[in-house]
């Protein structure tokens, strides 16, 4: 989230799309209801009338996988009717930037496409720059190659009729959503969007979010109270685990995992540190080297020295052109590339797409270590459906983990709040905390490598001192994540003593004199104590519910990121009613001579961009400090599959043609033909299917909890009355749902929550199935995971699989 949960109450219009907060994040509705009490509108766009939709002022159905068409229509509507916030767009986004002549878009493809490699040459999308590398701008935004013009050209095709034909949303519903949400383009209004896996789990996943980011920038909603782009995380610490490098390509704090060709630390830092010559751009990633060196100091302690590149050579490198994402790992496992596997707090034998193949991949392992609070379909895969235990060689080790109430530590919620939890009861039986298990694993590996081995340095030199009296100590880890001064360090005349905790990441150094396990979390555990454990109830002077003394938010306890975009050029709040920050300046003859920002922790420091007399302030700062050019990216030349979002059909779709362009699917989409047999416009599979979670369960875990099973005992398919009549299916009876990958037996739930859709003039049925359930606990016969049906196609930027749209058929059992 750019904002946070409580901040939802400040919104004037809440668009829920690709999410279902009433069911999956019920606590959010406390604040959604508060916003509604204050007159806010709630819009829900979803293929199904969810429990969120039933609370909404406007519900609009759409076909799974057509979000870009839907949002592209809104972009066109905003531009045509000039509903964007002109000052905001002109000053705080790259809308005035001039794009180079080599950029182009034709027949669904951007320029630079290599059809053999299925790859774009992104250099073709570069901005025109001056000799300092600073992009050329047209402040009037009239130039035919300025971003705003290109945006208008690109989305010209997204007219109501075409969008409606593709999405299945009626033109009236489209207009209702467009008109209502774009009212937040007014300076005194803020609109927010809540999204989750309904946007991400598509072969256009990243571009779905990009499309909405463009809208939020056009309407001037980024940085404001009640605005922003808000990803609802499906587990209470997904944000934290992502910050701490859950994903294969990251080091903690969104540093990059080095590639083979990044031969040395200086070369690595040079490659990833962002460069910019515009003095008004904070360009935060210029500090990359300070964070990477401090991280290596945390990894290897005293063993990391400037002579040995701080142990850079001991960190694993990825091959230059290879992905190590989830889907690639299972593909490798399937083809005998991976011999051993830790399934730690995960149940891929239920939760992964095309799950029959995933289970088959598990049979090819030599060993698997399963760490979980319960046995799962993954630990027990060898006795699952279609398995012959006698033929399976995989040795499975199960390590019992304790539950979250039985251990101490932090979680970071969707709003980036790091919150400290105390231990309740002690772990039962032989179960242990994840930290304890990890600590023990590391210690045993160190013992094994003590006598030698292949390339022992990374393990031998690993700093591994996070125990107190032999027990795992989460405070020691939290302090290491924050970071220490390793020598006396003097900055701006102030000396910080060796061995003390670093109070802010602006003090981190690239000479080995500081450590920090994750620069983003530097300031979370300081000499002033564990900031995450704070329980202060006082709100800040702006009274917008930021509660800065409760827990701690990264970065630097900033509660609304990009908050610098919430003020005008002179530092005055765009919306004084719900101001986030404001500049209280000392003024002399029309110029700021000093002053301070009050309210939230300001993004980037410095002074406002303009003096009170309207002249440019050379000590001013652009608002989007993490971007090299300091502005919001309406045109985003960094993504793999294009600088602007474009509608493509999902891997499997009911129509054989993309009505937006001749390019049917995302040209960079990937899937393994061996693992998957797609069925598009295939008469055998005419029904669109999507998957989701229920409020009654959490992931696959609560299957083991009787109270949860009582309220949702088993897998079911929701289908419309019309489809039920066509297939002669009655409510509550057993049916079979089939895709080109497999079959699922389940209960039919006949409902008005799914309605018929008109897609390109043809009537199409849409159905949906929750994915929590597996085969270990049967209620009536052959209950299974819906993921036996789901395709495994991959978004080219985030490499997330497309779980939300695939084609099926359904019949009576």
């Amino acid at each position: 989230m750019t904002n946070h949960w409580i901040d939802l109450r400040n919104s004037d219009c809440i668009l829920v799309m690709g999410a279902n907060p009433a069911e999956n994040h019920p606590i959010s509705f406390r604040y959604v209801n508060q916003a509604k009490d204050n007159g806010a509108k709630l819009i829900c766009v979803d293929p199904r009338i969810t429990r969120t939709a039933t609370s909404a002022d406007i519900y609009a159905p759409l076909r799974s996988g057509t979000d870009i068409a839907f949002l592209g229509g809104m972009i066109k509507y905003i531009l045509e009717n000039r509903l964007f916030q002109e000052d905001y767009v002109g000053n705080y986004t790259n809308a005035p930037f001039i794009v180079g002549e080599e950029y182009g878009f034709e027949d669904g493809l951007f320029s630079g496409y290599d059809p053999d490699e299925k790859h774009y040459d992104k250099s073709r999308w570069a901005f025109e720059t001056d000799d300092q590398g600073i992009p050329e701008r047209d402040p009037t935004m009239q130039h035919k190659r300025c971003v705003l013009s290109l945006l208008r050209d690109h989305f010209a095709r997204y007219d109501l009729k075409t969008v409606s034909m593709i999405t299945g949303t009626s033109q009236e519903s489209l207009m209702a959503v467009y008109e209502t949400f774009t009212l937040t383009g007014a300076a005194s209004k803020a609109g927010t969007v809540l999204y989750a896996m309904g946007w991400t789990q598509h072969t256009t996943g990243v571009q779905n979010i990009r499309a909405m980011s463009i809208i939020q920038l056009l309407l001037g909603n980024m940085g404001l109270a009640g605005g922003g782009i808000n990803a609802l995380r499906g587990e209470n610490n997904v944000q934290g685990s992502t910050d701490h490098a859950l994903l294969w390509g990251n080091w903690p704090g969104y540093l990059k995992v080095p590639r083979d060709s990044d031969h040395s630390l200086p070369a690595y830092n040079e490659k990833y540190a962002s460069k910019n010559n515009d003095p008004l751009s904070v360009n935060w990633w210029q500090h990359y080297g300070k964070y990477s060196v401090s991280f290596l100091k945390s990894m290897f302690g005293a063993k990391a020295t400037s002579e040995n590149d701080f142990g850079y050579a001991w960190m694993p490198k990825c091959k230059d052109d290879r992905s190590y994402a989830w889907w690639q790992s299972f593909k490798s496992m399937y083809h005998d590339g991976i011999r051993g596997f830790f399934a730690w707090g995960m149940n891929p034998a239920v939760s992964c797409g095309n799950v029959s193949k995933i289970r088959e991949a598990l049979t090819k392992l030599d060993w698997m270590v399963h760490v979980n609070i319960f046995a799962t379909e993954t630990s027990d895969f060898w006795k699952g459906p279609n398995m012959k235990p006698e033929d399976i060689k995989t040795e499975v080790f199960s390590l019992p983990a304790c539950t979250w109430v039985e251990k101490e530590g932090s979680i970071t919620n969707s709003g980036r709040w790091m919150q400290w939890r105390y231990m309740g009861p002690r772990p039962r039986g032989q179960s242990r905390s994840d930290g304890h298990i990890m600590m023990e694993l590391g210690s045993r590996l160190k013992a094994l490598y003590a006598g030698g081995g292949v390339f022992p340095e990374p393990i031998r030199n690993l700093k591994w001192d996070y125990t107190t009296n032999g027990e795992f100590d989460p405070h020691k880890v939290a302090k290491e994540i924050n970071g220490y001064f390793l020598e006396d360090v003097t900055v701006d005349g102030r000396t910080y003593r060796k061995g003390t905790l670093v109070p802010s990441f602006v003090l981190l150094q690239d000479d080995g004199s500081t450590s920090s396990g994750n620069w983003l979390y530097c300031a979370s555990y300081t000499e002033a104590g564990n900031q995450a454990a704070r329980q202060g109830q006082e709100d800040a002077p702006n009274k917008i519910g930021n509660y800065p003394e409760f827990a701690w938010a990264w970065p630097l306890n900033r509660r609304i990121i990009y908050n610098r975009a919430s003020v005008d050029l002179r530092g005055k709040p765009i919306n004084p009613e719900k101001w986030v920050v404001r500049f209280e300046g000392e003024e002399k003859s029309g110029k700021y001579t000093g002053g301070q920002w009050v309210g939230d922790v300001i993004d980037g420091g410095g002074l406002p961009l303009h003096h009170p007399d309207g002249s440019l302030n050379r000590d001013g700062r652009y608002p989007f400090i993490m971007r090299a050019h300091g502005v919001g990216q309406i045109f985003g030349p960094g993504l793999n599959d294009g600088p602007l979002p474009e509608h493509y059909e999902p891997l499997e779709s009911p129509i054989a043609k993309n009505y937006m362009s001749p390019q049917r699917r995302n040209p960079l989409m990937r899937y393994s033909a061996l693992l998957d047999k797609p069925a598009t416009a295939d008469p055998r599979f005419p029904i669109i299917c999507t998957t989701y979670r229920l409020t009654e369960h959490w992931m696959t875990v609560t299957q083991a909890v009787p109270w949860n099973r009582e309220i949702q005992p088993q897998v079911f398919v929701e289908l419309s009355h019309e489809l039920a009549a066509e297939k002669m299916i009655s409510n509550g009876e057993r049916v079979v749902v089939e895709s080109s990958r497999g079959q699922l037996e389940c209960v039919a739930l006949v409902t008005h929550r799914f309605q018929l859709m008109q897609i390109v003039g043809k009537t199409v049925h849409h159905i949906g199935i929750p994915w929590h359930f597996g085969w270990r606990r049967q209620t009536s016969g052959n209950d299974e995971s819906v993921n036996v049906l789901v395709a495994f196609a991959i978004d080219p930027s985030a490499e997330i699989p497309e779980y939300k749209a695939f084609m099926v058929n359904v019949h009576k059992k």
Binding site: E23, T695, V747
Partner: protein, 220 residues
């Protein structure tokens, strides 16, 4: 004066947190259920299910409504069950809180009659012969805590406090919501301690949501 609930179903999202919190606090076992073509489960109250979110779909003027009704004992001001039983060892009203409390002595009562007189069809008899229903978490309330269901409700659909405060809150909320839902109403507000606010006619939510014309009341 004693306690009451105000249950604003227009804020309810059917997350069922109240239903589970009730099971947890009262240490009630899970029932073995199957999905019979509904999100509502268990299908009805039982001797081990005191709180139940009833879920119905309704099409009003062509628009879909998901109607959610977190059903429970109303702790009536003049409880028909108590009046019928005439046995304060089995059913009594707590003087401080107003909770209508069933004891193990309910074993001696004729269960069909007690269930039959309840206008809201709430009490159920367990295998042990005891009658059971919502206790208002009287054990919590007497120690200054809210009932478990109210404590856990994330959306302020469930509210608890002094009865007159709840009555005032209910009236205030009704006034506000009328502009959105002209048919909004408080259910039997003068007779119960658990005041429901519904957006539509109560029968749309559940046959026994309100007392009037639900079914013939037994009289002694």
């Amino acid at each position: 004066m004693s306690n009451g609930f105000f249950i604003d179903v227009t804020r309810c999202i059917a997350c069922k947190a109240c239903q589970i919190a009730c099971k947890q606090w009262n240490n009630l076992p899970a029932e073995q259920t199957t999905n019979v073509g509904s999100y509502q489960n268990p299908p009805d109250f039982s001797a081990v299910t005191y709180k139940l979110v009833r879920m119905t779909e309704s099409i009003v003027d062509g628009k879909f409504y998901g109607l959610y009704f977190p059903d429970q004992c109303r702790h009536c001001l003049l409880p028909p069950c108590l009046l019928w039983a005439q046995d304060s060892d089995a059913i009594y009203q707590d003087k401080d809180t107003g909770a209508v409390v069933y004891t193990s002595e309910t074993q001696k009562l004729k269960a069909e009659d007690i269930i039959g007189v309840c206008p809201y069809d709430v009490p159920r008899r367990g295998k042990d012969g005891l009658l059971a229903k919502c206790t208002m978490c009287n054990d919590r309330v007497k120690r200054g805590m809210e009932p478990a269901c109210v404590k856990t409700c994330p959306t302020d659909a469930l509210n608890f406090g002094k009865l007159e405060e709840m009555q005032a809150l209910a009236s205030e909320r009704l006034e506000k919501i009328k502009s959105i839902y002209p048919d909004a109403q408080l259910l039997d507000a003068d007779d119960v301690r658990v005041i429901f606010l519904t957006a539509f006619a109560p029968q749309k939510y559940h046959r026994y949501a309100a007392a009037f014309d639900a079914r013939p009341r037994k009289t002694r």
